[in-house]
Symmetry: C3
Subunit: 277 residues, 3 copies
C-alpha cells in the first residue's frame, strides 16, 4: 500500500497511518480516495489489529477539507459523487472507518478543524495534547459541518456543549476537548506517544475474538443511535445543499479558498472573521 | 416589551433578559406568565438571534418557585392551570423555551434552586461562576422537582449523578455543576460576562440558516429522547399530585412559605432541615 | 441476616454491607448466593432506605470472580446455572440490585476488578478514593466482561472511553474513574466516609414516596436503554460461551487460577501478561 497523502508504518499488528499532505494537511479528494482505499484493504486485513491515525505535519493534523476541491466536487462532473442524497462522501468515509474490525486510535498534536475533526470523531478512541486546537468553523461561513460532524458531536458530547463548539466556531484546546468529551483525555506533548503506543500494543495483543465481542456488545447497546445517526446525516446534507446554494456563502468560500496558506490557517477563526468583513 | 419581573436590554441581535423580581428572584405566577409572553414574541422575532438569560439580583438567580403562589395555584380557581394532566405549566414553559429558534444562553452567578434550576436546564447552553449554588431541594420536602427538572437532569447528566443531586438536596458549587454536566463549564466571576458576551456575539453573527440547520440536526439526532422526556413529565406530574396530597407535605411547605426571606434562603437546605424537625 | 461473605451493620434506616471474603474478597458462588439472598430480603424491607456497599478488606474491594468457582460452575452439575441462555447469574444479580427500591451507594477504597467492578456498576451512585484501582482485565485473557459490565460501561461512559477501559485492561485510578464517569466523583481517603455517610443520611431521610417517584421518572426517562441493556447481555453471553470454549483461553485461566493470591493480584495486569508468556 503506497499513497500520496498518507505515510504508513507497520510495527507488528499495529499500523501507523500519518496524514501527510503538504503544509496544511488539507483533506483533498485524493486523500478521501486513499482513506477509502485503505479502509477497504483493512476490512480484509487480519494481520492488522490496531490503526493509529496521526499526522506527519508538526503543526496541522488536518486543516480542513480543501476548498478548491470542494468547488471542484460541486462543479466538475468527473469528480465522483455520492449516488445517494442522504449520505455524502465524507459521511460514508467516516462511517466506513467507524465500522472497521480493527481498533482505531486518533493521536492529535496540532490543529484539526472542519472535515478533519469530523473524520477524527469517527475513530474509536481519541487523544490530544493541550496545545492541539479543535474547531468546527463551518457556521461562521454560513453553513454547517456536513461530514457527519454535527451528528457525531451531538451524540458524543451532548447538545449543550455541541452547540457551543458549533456556534462559537472558535478553537478549543486539547484540555477543553477532553473536558467536553471530544477526546478520551488530554496528554502532555512529551507523553502522548508513549501513552498511545502502550494502548495500541495492549489492544494489538487482544485476540480477534475478544475485540469482535466487545465491538458486538457496543454496537448492540448503542445501536439505538444508528437510526439517529443516519437521520442526522440526511439533515446535514439537505441543509448543506440549501446553504451552499446561497451566492453570499459561495462568495465567502471563494475568498477563503484564496487564503488557504499556513499563515492564514494558523488562526482560521480570525481569518474567516476578516474575510466576512 | 415591558415586564414586572424581567429586565430587558438589547445589543444588536442579542437580547439580555435579567430575572428581576424582588430580593429572592422568586419564580412567581406573574414571572411564569411573562416568560411565556416573551417566548411567544421571540418565536416571531427575527431580529433577535441570541437570548442571554441572567439575573439582576447579585445573590439569587432564581431562589425557586414561590410557595405562596404554589398554594394559590393549588387552591385558587382563577389561577390558570394546565388543561392536560401530563404536562404542567413549568414543564410547558421550559419546553417552549427549549424550542425557541434563537440560541439561548444561561449565565449564573448566584443561587439557583428548584423551579429556577429546572427552567435553567432548558436553556441551550449554561455557564456558572464557582460561587454559584445549584440545588434541587424538593425531595427534602417530601416531593420531587416537577418542572421537567427530574427528567432533564437524568437526560443531561445520567442517572448516578442525577440521583446524587436529587436525593442529597444539597447545594452544588458551579465547579461541581460543571463536573457533573449541569453547565457547560465554570468560569471565574471576573471572566464569565466576557466569555458569555463573546459567545453570544459569535452566535448572533451566524446566519439564521446555519443556526436552524444545527438545530434541525440536533433535534433529529437526539429526537429519540423526546418521547422519553414527555413520558418523564407525565410521571413527574402523577407523583407530584400524589405527594402534594399528603397532609404532612403540605404542612411542611406551609412552614417553609413563612421562611421565604433572604436570610433563610441563603442556606435553604439547612432551613428545610430545621423546618422538618 | 447473617452471611459468610458479607458483614452487615445497621444505623437507623441505613444498612452498611461490607464485602468480607478472605484476603482477596473474591466474588465466589457463595457470595453471589448471599448477595441474591440479601437483595431478596431488601425488596420487602421497608425499614431500610439506603444500602452502602463497601469492603471490610483494606486492600481489595472485590478482586474479581473466583476462577476456581468459574471452573466449578462450568463443570459441576450441582452448581446452579441460569436457565436462560440470554442472561447469566451475575447479570441477573446486578440487575436485581439495580432495581432495588432502596438507594444503593458504592464506596470504593481499594482494588475492584472484573466481576466486582461489573457488580459495582449496578449500584445507583459510586464514589472512590484516588488510590483505588478499577480494572476490567478480561480481554487480556481472551474473553470479555460478562456480568453486564461491557454493557453497563458502554451505557455509563460512552463507547470511546469504554473501549479504552475494556481493551487496555489496565488499572485506572479513582481520579481516572471519576473523569471517565465510572464513579460520581473521587474523594480523598480521609474524607470519603464522611461524604458517603452524609449522603446516605440525607437519602435515608427522604420519604419512600419521594424516592420511588425519582426512581420512576429515571426509569421512564432512561427506559429506552433497557432493551439495549438486555440485548447487550445476550451478546455478552453468546460471546463468552464461544471464547471460553477455546482451549488456549481455558489453559490461560487455569494458570491464573493458581496465582490467585494477594501478591499476584496486587498488579493483576502484570500477572496476566506474565502468564500469557
Amino acid at each position: 500500500m503506497s499513497y500520496q497523502t498518507l505515510s504508513l508504518r507497520r510495527d507488528g499488528r499495529i499500523l501507523y497511518v500519518d496524514i501527510d499532505n503538504g503544509p496544511l494537511n488539507l483533506m483533498t479528494i485524493q486523500m478521501v480516495g486513499e482513506l477509502f482505499d485503505l479502509a477497504g484493504k483493512l476490512v480484509f486485513d487480519q494481520e492488522t489489529g490496531v490503526v493509529v491515525l496521526g499526522s506527519a505535519n508538526p503543526e496541522f493534523f488536518i486543516a480542513h477539507f480543501d476548498l478548491d476541491d470542494l468547488f471542484r466536487s460541486m462543479n466538475d462532473p468527473d469528480v465522483p459523487q455520492s449516488k445517494y442524497p442522504d449520505i455524502n462522501v465524507v459521511q460514508a468515509l467516516s462511517t466506513m472507518w467507524e465500522a472497521l474490525p480493527q481498533v482505531t486510535i486518533g493521536l492529535v498534536d496540532g490543529i484539526v478543524r472542519g472535515g478533519g475533526l469530523e473524520f477524527l470523531l469517527a475513530t474509536h478512541m481519541r487523544f490530544a495534547t493541550p496545545r492541539s486546537r479543535f474547531c468546527l468553523p463551518e457556521t461562521s461561513g454560513g453553513f454547517l459541518p456536513t461530514g457527519g460532524g454535527t451528528t457525531r458531536l451531538a451524540l458524543h458530547i451532548g447538545p449543550a456543549r455541541a452547540r457551543e463548539v458549533l456556534l462559537s466556531a472558535r478553537d478549543f484546546s486539547g484540555e477543553e476537548a477532553a473536558a467536553y468529551g471530544m477526546v478520551n483525555r488530554a496528554l502532555p506533548a512529551d507523553g502522548i506517544r508513549a501513552y498511545v503506543d502502550d494502548l495500541a500494543r495492549r489492544a494489538a495483543a487482544r485476540s480477534a475474538g475478544s475485540v469482535a465481542a466487545v465491538n458486538q456488545v457496543l454496537t448492540k447497546v448503542l445501536g439505538g443511535a444508528v437510526d439517529a445517526q443516519f437521520a442526522g446525516f440526511a439533515v446535514e446534507n439537505e441543509a448543506m445543499r440549501a446553504l451552499l446554494g446561497i451566492p453570499a456563502v459561495q462568495e465567502h468560500l471563494r475568498k477563503l479558498a484564496e487564503l488557504q496558506d499556513v499563515e492564514h490557517e494558523r488562526d482560521l477563526p480570525a481569518t474567516i472573521a476578516g474575510a466576512a468583513r
